[in-house]
């Protein structure tokens, strides 16, 4: 005989995730599993379309898919139950009951609001820095976006990591909701902003994760205060190797309309389908904020020396003795994966198939795995 309380607990509700601050609902465009399928943790369950981007939802646990609640193409509010996973020994009646309740909740629209990332700001060197925090575990992870990006670019990474750590995603100066003035735009200024954030938050030990320009920034921060940094995870980082797509960077910086911008964005992804109108729109809205053009122009001077990389992060890395993990998309057209050889034997490098420069958006599990590995030590 089974204890009814523990069997109910054994039913795992798969819910519509909250990918990004503005996401209110999502649409399942394809189910990869059917009722009766056995799933393991990390298996892809479904493709979900938000108004911003399409991503794959991974299973948070193992078990049997007992019920699919939400149909393909159904709009489901964030937090709504879309499937039930449970061991085979949970009786059908209990599953039926849970499925009925979940369906009623979706039909009535009375889905409880899911607490998304908590937004905050700190003042560093006269600038306001904006950040979003998810999770409350003991260890701390700080996610640092790349050139022209913002904290929302970690939308597929921050949520899964939040089970393991307190995960902050920050907007660098010149980006997102942070002050647009970047000062001299140097790597040192950007690294100073990161270290100032850590200081203000009282974070004494942190796992840094940086993408592209953010990869160089976290390296510079680790070089300045190695004692504070538990590990580095570099995702297609700038400042390593001697190849950089200068045309892309200049094109992105100078594009003054969506029409001009879109062709450049195709260089960011392995799958050109990821370059949606919404993505181009959001980037144009960012570029049109007062002060952004000056910030992007200034940072371009940091990233480029003529057509060559303007940053040497590899030299800075020598000052940091802690663990370094690198994730690189094989189809990266901005900073080619071959640049990883510059890291020599210093880091463990994972090359990711079907991923371009935005590997944390196209194959987020590769980045989640790398950071989880760093947390595991």
């Amino acid at each position: 005989m089974t204890d009814p309380v523990s069997t109910e607990d054994a039913i795992t509700k798969v819910t519509m995730p909250k990918w990004g601050l503005s996401m209110k609902s999502g649409k399942i465009t394809a189910w990869f599993v059917a009722e009766g399928d056995e799933v393991a943790e990390g298996d892809d369950l479904a493709d979900i379309d938000t108004d911003k981007i399409t991503g794959a939802l991974e299973s948070a646990g193992a078990g049997l898919v007992r019920r699919i609640i939400a149909e393909t193409n159904e709009d489901v509010p964030v937090g709504g139950t879309i499937a039930l996973i449970a061991p085979a020994d949970v009786p059908e009646e209990l599953i039926d009951e849970a499925a009925r309740a979940a369906r009623e909740e979706l039909d009535s629209g009375a889905v409880d609001e899911v607490a998304g990332p908590v937004l905050g700001t700190v003042q560093v060197d006269g600038r306001t820095l904006s950040y979003a925090t998810l999770g409350a575990a003991e260890e701390t992870v700080l996610l640092v976006h790349g050139y022209g990006g913002d904290k929302n670019s970690w939308l597929f990474v921050q949520e899964p990591l939040s089970a393991r750590a307190t995960v902050h995603a920050i907007d660098l100066p010149g980006h997102g909701d942070s002050t647009k003035d970047v000062g001299d735009g140097s790597l040192d200024t950007l690294a100073g902003a990161l270290l100032g954030f850590l200081e203000q938050q009282g974070i004494e030990r942190v796992h840094l994760v940086g993408h592209s320009l953010g990869g160089a920034v976290v390296t510079a921060a680790a070089a300045r205060e190695p004692g504070r940094i538990a590990s580095l995870t570099l995702v297609a980082p700038a400042g390593y190797g001697d190849t950089i797509n200068a045309d892309y960077l200049r094109g992105f910086a100078s594009a003054s309309s969506r029409r001009e911008l879109k062709p450049h964005l195709l260089h960011l992804f392995a799958d050109s389908g990821q370059v949606t109108r919404q993505l181009a729109d959001d980037l144009m809205k960012f570029k049109r904020l007062d002060g952004v053009q000056q910030a992007l122009d200034r940072l371009l001077g940091t990233l480029l020396d003529g057509d060559r990389p303007g940053i040497d992060a590899a030299a800075l890395l020598q000052k940091f003795a802690g663990p370094v993990t690198v994730v690189w998309g094989r189809a990266d057209q901005v900073l080619p994966a071959a640049n990883a050889t510059a890291l020599g034997g210093r880091a463990q490098v994972t090359y990711v198939d079907h991923a371009g420069h935005m590997v944390h958006m196209e194959q987020p599990s590769a980045v989640v795995d790398a950071v989880t590995g760093a947390l595991d030590g």
Partner: protein, 337 residues
Amino acid sequence: MARTISYREAVNEALRQEMERDPSVIVMGEDNAGGAGSPGEDDAWGGVLGVTKGLYEQFPGRVLDTPISESAFVGAAVGAATRGLRPVAELMFIDFMGVCFDQIFNQAAKFRYMFGGKAVTPVVVRTMYGAGLNAAAQHSQCLYPVFTHIPGLKVVLPSSPYEAKGLLIQAIRDNDPVIFCEHKALYDMTGEVPEDSYTIPFGEANVVRDGDDVTIVALGRMVSVAEEAAAELARQGVQAEIIDPRTTSPLDSDTILESVENTGRLVVVDEATPRCSMATDISALVAQEAFGALRAPIEMVTAPHTPVPFAQTLEQLYIPDAQKVANAVKKTMDWKK
């Protein structure tokens, strides 16, 4: 960051941020400062629909009440603009343009041209237009085509809160006279708007929705009507592309033509009366420049050529709605030689 605010708040925020940024920006118009200081009123009314509310308190001496004399205060704004200020004058309703038109079309619009490019006139005339508030024939018109007809004026029709803020900031920073047309029925529309200042360039249409079957060009309030129609059409398997020109002068003809080259069908949705309107203008543009791409005659969905009726039922019938737009689209889809 972006938060959800109303069209009215977006206009107000644009004015506030530009007044904070640039001391030469002033606001003037009927009742913009009205009520302030009188018993029981701490703040100004902020104009007839409260758009400039709160500015009087924050910017003493820079929000001016004017007599009910459009010719005088629009003329004063134009003159002040030539002398270094950046006035934003509120012409309460576009229907009142008749009494101040000389100041706009013969003075403001001509200075740059007649003084060999040496004179600039950075004046903005904010004005409210459109039917739907049961305000009768003298307070409900869509007279923006009249301004569009005049070289030397820039004419702006924001269709959403995001557009309202970015286009108004652009209008204030622009060195030419700008007629900024706010639809009365949009003031309570809400949408995501960044807190920071930003600009939207003039002459760049926004593709509101992608589609391969038909191009719908919609203006001002008609953009959301077209979206409603497109959502219904999509359920029937017809994918409409919606283009919001955002400014009628300058007009982004490239985006319209490229879309029609792809879809082969055009429906123009315009709340203005149909003769000498944006609907006829855009139709003529496409007939002339993309005739070979057309697979069906161009359709126009407009108000009828009558004054705006006061009777509510007739007013509702007068304004183009989603059903009329969908019907026009179907006509282009079903057309056979």
